[in-house]
């Protein structure tokens, strides 16, 4: 009998390095480094103070050990906390962006030049520690929408930053969030004013290029009353033997009747077949449904990174607010993922949905960890959770840790879970119809993920499909 080992296809197309001169700060972390970053960014005093608070708090904290992931301890003094491509002068327009950078994003499928830029998608391109370009800024401005790099927002809209920064993920939130708050260098900022439906997809593309550098960026999105916005993020990094840290924070704020849809395709370098190298993706993402009838929806497709630790969550504060979490997490080779969500029901008639699909191949280790919490005042709270795992090959593993804390009797909380394998019968059936084994497996995997993929914006859905292409390693057993 023939035994097959499946493998998610990983010819990593984004593993190149851009030869570009960078300006970096010395290795290590201390108050001087933080001051240096803040100075480089010409930040107002309140920002530096906030960073110091975070740093001092961080010094008292310990790295979380509860996730179901294993890695040698990180030397935080051996990381470069700021690296930016050298710019000769201040940029006035996209035309002045370094050609090498434009070429890099071109190669990644994210053209930034005016004539080539993606239709219907405004992109903020982040390269190592800084945002290098943002497209469609002017057009969005016509609608009153602010979409820019975080650094620009600090300069041009300090009041908004001051008002909302840290209101969803405080600087004291957790080890990585505190670290991020101390040293974050850039990221994206978005404000959609009252009653405005954002006319295009907004997106940020994160690229790590420099070696030994951590990427610490922050995204802050505010959807004011009655507004809607759909935001996407993508990420890639060069192939390197050494692990690199990516510790981001994302905060979403939805006011009354506002809706935010946040989609991620995470394709960081995952390490090689033996588990060498790859990005540690330790990320804190949280949204707050502040107003009544607001809605926040997270959709993530996590295919890259050596280790993923993230729980995009929603605080359902406004009455009738809705939180959603749709996730596909793939662990291949020696990848590890501990991911899930937290749905915190505070307001009345709040609803949440969790659909998680974990796929593990070879030695991949995939954990779903989720919390549904219903507070005493959350009358009629509703939650539906489903966690499905698909195992490809005998050495892969999947775990599900759903936590429920219900403090209101009227709440209704449902949880379903399943673990399955691709059956020989399914493969035979597909092959009997003329499909190759690879195509059959890809089709079955994509079918497994369908409920999640259908929530992705069109551009991303196609990408996601491609990322889950499958290769087979046949062995006769």
């Amino acid at each position: 009998m023939k035994k097959q080992e499946f493998q998610i296809d990983r010819e990593y197309k984004y593993g190149f390095v851009t030869p570009i001169e960078s300006e970096t700060v010395p290795r290590g972390l201390n108050e001087d480094i933080i001051r240096l970053i803040s100075t480089k960014k010409k930040e107002p005093p309140f920002m530096l103070e906030w960073r110091f608070n975070a740093y001092r708090r961080w010094l008292t904290m310990k790295e979380p050990k509860w996730p179901n992931v294993h890695y040698p301890s990180i030397d935080y003094q051996d990381i470069v906390y700021y690296s930016a491509p050298k710019q000769k002068k201040l940029l006035n327009s996209l035309d002045e962006v370094d050609q090498e950078l434009l070429r890099t994003f071109d190669k990644l499928g994210i053209p930034l030049e005016e004539q080539k830029k993606l239709a219907g998608v405004a992109v903020d391109a982040v390269f190592d520690s800084v945002s290098v370009a943002t497209t469609y800024k002017e057009k969005l401005k016509e609608f009153g929408i602010i979409f820019c790099s975080f650094s620009e927002a600090v300069q041009n809209h300090p009041d908004l930053v001051k008002k909302y920064l840290g209101t969803v993920v405080p600087y004291s939130d957790n080890f990585y969030a505190s670290l991020n708050s101390a040293v974050f260098s850039d990221g994206s900022f978005c404000y959609v004013p009252k009653g405005v439906r954002c006319p295009m997809e907004l997106s940020t593309y994160f690229r790590i290029n420099a070696a030994d550098t951590g990427q610490f960026e922050r995204t802050l999105i505010i959807a004011d009353e009655g507004s809607t916005v759909s935001y996407m993020e993508g990420c890639t990094a060069p192939i390197r033997d050494k692990n690199q840290l990516h510790a981001a924070v994302v905060e979403l704020i939805a006011m009354e009747n506002a809706q935010i849809k946040y989609s991620t395709i995470q394709n960081w370098y995952a390490g090689d077949k033996e588990g060498k190298g790859g990005i540690y993706n330790f990320v804190t993402k949280r949204g707050k449904c502040v107003g009544r009838n607001s809605k926040i929806s997270w959709t993530q497709v996590e295919t890259g990174a050596a280790i993923t630790w993230k729980y995009p969550s929603v605080i359902l504060q406004g009455d009738n607010s809705v939180g959603e979490f749709y996730s596909v997490a793939v662990t291949n080779n020696h990848q590890q993922a501990d991911t899930g969500t937290k749905m915190i029901h505070i307001g009345k008639n709040t609803k949440s949905t969790i659909i998680s699909k974990g796929i593990s191949a070879r030695f991949g280790n995939n954990t779903y960890r989720g919390l549904v919490k219903v507070l005493p005042n959350a009358v009629n709270a509703r939650n539906y959770s489903r966690c499905d795992s698909l195992l490809l090959g005998g050495q892969a593993s999947a775990n599900t840790f759903p936590y429920l804390e219900v403090e209101n009797k009227t709440a209704r909380v449902e949880h379903e879970a399943s673990t399955s394998k691709i059956s020989e019968e399914q493969l035979f059936y597909c092959r009997q119809r003329g499909l190759s084994e690879e195509n059959a497996v890809s089709m079955i995997i994509n079918g497994f993920c369908k409920e999640v993929f259908k929530n992705l914006p069109m551009e991303f859905a196609v990408e996601a499909h491609k990322l889950l292409g499958v290769s087979l390693e046949g062995s006769v057993g």
Partner: protein, 253 residues
């Protein structure tokens, strides 16, 4: 079209088929009948290329080629279709998507242009109407949550879409009520063509009232115990399988 010579097949070391000889010409419909455990399904699985079955002896020629050397998908692309007795579900994959992928693989192997989603959907809708199914069928995941009858119809639908040269139907009648049986049989009959051969495997004579075969073979204990025309099926219905069971002893004993 198909020639089977002295075919011996085992699964997990146990011999199921013990020397099958069968010749099917283009346009012919052969019925294979037999009691449970006689090896009917095994024969269909071997024709389709299920690797769990081990061919220990014999050969199969399909269109002059050595079928046993061809992998499952290649057989399918060359025109072999198996209507499964127990079609399996593929959650999340719509029937339309699945069938288009399958048809395009077959077309590609013939050097034909692939059909795009719109073209295919039109084509599929026609076929769905033809087999008297609801149009929503195209969007439903393959076999997921289908009733027994729906699954069988879906198999015949797939056959109509993929237009095989050799269709092997494994107990397509089982689990069908009389109305569904008529629809399915009618579908199969319409697919009869001078260049298309069929092997219809069934436990009951009932199906053969609707799909009238050119030849009937009775499989008992891994051997073809008797072959004849459709009258053989009627006699079997009358006398039961025990009637043929004694005879192989005489022939081979």
């Amino acid at each position: 079209m198909l020639e089977i010579h002295n075919l011996h097949v085992s699964i997990e070391g146990k011999e199921i088929l013990k020397g099958i000889d069968l010749k099917v010409k283009a346009g012919e419909v052969h019925a294979i009948m037999g009691p449970n455990g006689s090896g009917k399904s095994t024969l269909t699985q071997v024709l389709a290329g299920n690797e769990n079955y081990e061919v220990t002896k014999g050969e199969i020629l399909y269109q002059g080629k050595d079928l046993l050397k061809m992998p499952t998908e290649e057989r399918a692309r060359e025109g072999i279709f198996l209507a499964f007795q127990y079609p399996i579900a593929i959650p999340g994959v719509s029937t339309a998507y699945f069938l288009r992928a399958a048809l395009n693989e077959i077309r590609k192997s013939k050097g034909l242009e692939e059909l795009d989603a719109m073209e295919f959907l039109e084509f599929l809708k026609e076929k769905i109407k033809w087999i008297e199914m609801d149009p929503s069928f195209a969007n439903r995941p393959v076999n997921e949550g289908f009733s027994g009858g729906e699954k069988k119809r879906n198999e015949v639908l797939q056959m109509a879409v993929l237009e095989p040269k050799l269709a092997v139907l494994d107990e397509t009648d089982s689990g069908l009520d009389i109305d569904a049986l008529k629809v399915v049989a009618n579908g199969v009959n319409q697919l009869r063509a001078p260049e298309r051969s069929m092997i219809v495997v069934t436990h009951y004579q009932r199906l053969l009232n609707y799909i009238v075969p050119d030849f009937v073979h009775v499989l008992v204990d891994g051997r073809i115990a008797k072959s004849g025309t459709k009258e053989l099926a009627f006699r079997l219905e009358e006398k039961g399988y025990d009637w043929v069971k004694v005879e192989p002893e005489k022939i081979h004993g």
